[in-house]
Amino acid sequence: MTGDSMVLSARRVRKQFGALVALDDVDLDVAEGSVVAIIGPSGSGKSTLARCIHQLERIDAGAIYLDGELLGFEHKSGKLLPLRDRDLSRQRAQMGMVFQQFNLFSHYTILENLIEGPTRVLGVPRKEAEEKARALLARVRLSDKVDAYPRHLSGGQQQRAAIARALANEPRLMLFDEPTSALDPELVGEVLEVMQDLAAGGMTMVIVTHEMSFARDVADRIVFMEAGRIVKEGTPKEIFGAPPESRLGRFLATSGVALTSPEATLAD
């Protein structure tokens, strides 16, 4: 039913909030080890798409598959039923989610934040989970903050810890929902660096972002959304080479991206 090497496939996904159609017939394929950036004006449905993939929102139509497994629903005696809480949680644990507002558990230390998923959901012994958590924190350069509480960390540090927490479940796919939008400008770089390392390490990633230059440099494919639809999809070269008078071209211009970069000019 889905592509062979696709980690994630979305087919004709539709999501409505009351009368508002947030996602309208969206198709998306994410290959193993690839990085897909989703860009678009606010209200275009890009965050909703990430949240629907992660099963934080239930879709109204269409289907989403993770490694060929249907997400959020099951067939039972010929009927399609929404999954029970327990099975839904198991599916969510296979994907990592990074939020705009970090959302670290404020009453837990950073280490406790990281081991919560592995120990409570995956049944990993505490000692083993702690060891792995320390290794992850070293990877995002937060070894000195293991026992700190979230509110004692800067925004950039919190977001790096949140990325480490999402990685702790060893997910098949990482989703980022505008991970740098809530950060002070000087803290954006350290988070993007961690994400770049992840991408280089072969992690499959879907990134909703406003960081155009990051999308251009790191993504294998860029998806441009508007009004709940995918308007254009392609390599960074194709996307950033869009004609300035097109809808995408105008969006890129207002996003402050230099369209005159050598690649863009060549692609034109």
Binding site: H54, L56, R86, M97, F99, Q101, N103, F105, H107, A162
Partner: protein, 305 residues
């Protein structure tokens, strides 16, 4: 180089008369005066009470740990504990019902709160005690079939159960509001993050939402529990032998009204003091990751001073 030389010179120069570090604290004298007045007034009250022969302190001492008083004290404590647990469970369910997306649950919880907050505790107490007058017996059976269970309400509703229902049902309505406020204080993102790492609904509630809402639930909850402890004194009207009823039984016999009321008063004072200390400890536990609250720091400061 030039800057370093300048600074070295400044350090050796005498301080100007208007240097801020030389300022003395303006409020010190005022504090000493007010403090002395307060402590003087307190000392005078204690001495006056101790010297007043009408308090009959020897009688107070005689009955302070009398068996009947101890039994009454235990009943009061046990009743407070049972009401606490009973109202906490029902209050939590009511809070969840109010917050649920299912409309009939919301309405049910609202109607419950409306009824049980409107009727005074004393009225409820007498009502439950006299339930047998309205419903003489309850039976459980199949329609047109055999009766599986039958009991006289008078046997079912003991004074203790009447006390738990009369005081606990109303208390549950108050607790539900406290718990609801606590649940609403937890950021939506915390729930989402919990679901995102794969925690189930109940895990999210008990491991993330409840511990975080505790910071907001505990201060009013402690307040309510102290109110409940004192509220149990109402049960003397249905002849349940709590602390107040016990001393009343004694002074009805000996006519030593004031000293026996002092016995009850001192015990209430001691228990509330212990409860307050316990509350501080629990609040400190749940302030994890947020630093100690200002109230706790203030108390600690006073202890150290």
């Amino acid at each position: 180089m030039a800057i370093a030389t300048d600074m070295g010179g400044a350090a050796r120069r005498p301080l100007p008369a208007d240097d801020a570090s030389l300022a003395i604290r303006r409020d010190r004298i005022g504090r000493i005066v007010v403090g002395a007045l307060v402590f003087g007034l307190l000392a005078w009250l204690v001495l006056a009470a101790a010297a007043n022969p009408r308090f009959e302190w020897d009688v107070v001492a005689r009955y302070f740990t009398a068996q009947a008083v101890m039994n009454g004290l235990m009943t009061t404590l046990y009743l407070t504990l049972v009401i606490f647990v009973f109202s906490l469970v029902i209050g939590t369910l009511l809070a969840l019902a109010r917050e649920s997306a299912y409309r009939p649950f919301q309405i049910l919880a609202w109607v419950y709160s409306w009824v049980f907050r409107s009727v005074p505790a004393l009225v409820q107490l007498i009502f439950w005690f006299n339930l047998a007058y309205i419903i003489p017996s309850i039976s459980l059976g199949l329609p047109f079939g055999p009766t599986l269970f039958e009991a006289r309400v008078n046997d079912l509703i003991s004074p203790f159960l009447a006390a738990v229902l009369g005081l606990g049902l109303g208390e549950a309505a108050y607790k539900s509001e406290i718990i609801r406020a606590g649940l609403m204080s937890v950021d939506k993102g915390q729930r989402e993050a919990a679901r995102a790492i794969g925690l189930t609904g109940p895990q999210t509630f008990f491991r993330i939402v409840i511990p975080q809402s505790m910071r907001f639930i505990l201060p009013p909850l402690g307040n309510q529990t102290i109110l409940n402890l004192k509220g149990t004194s109402l049960v003397s009207v249905i002849a349940l032998s709590d602390l107040l009823h016990s001393v009343q039984s004694i002074y009805n016999r000996t006519l030593e009204v004031v000293p026996l009321l002092m016995v009850a008063t001192l015990w209430y004072l001691i228990i509330v003091s212990i409860m307050s200390v316990i509350q501080i400890g629990i609040e400190r536990h749940f302030s994890r990751g947020h630093g100690a609250s200002r109230a706790i720091k203030a108390v600690e400061g006073r202890i150290e001073a």
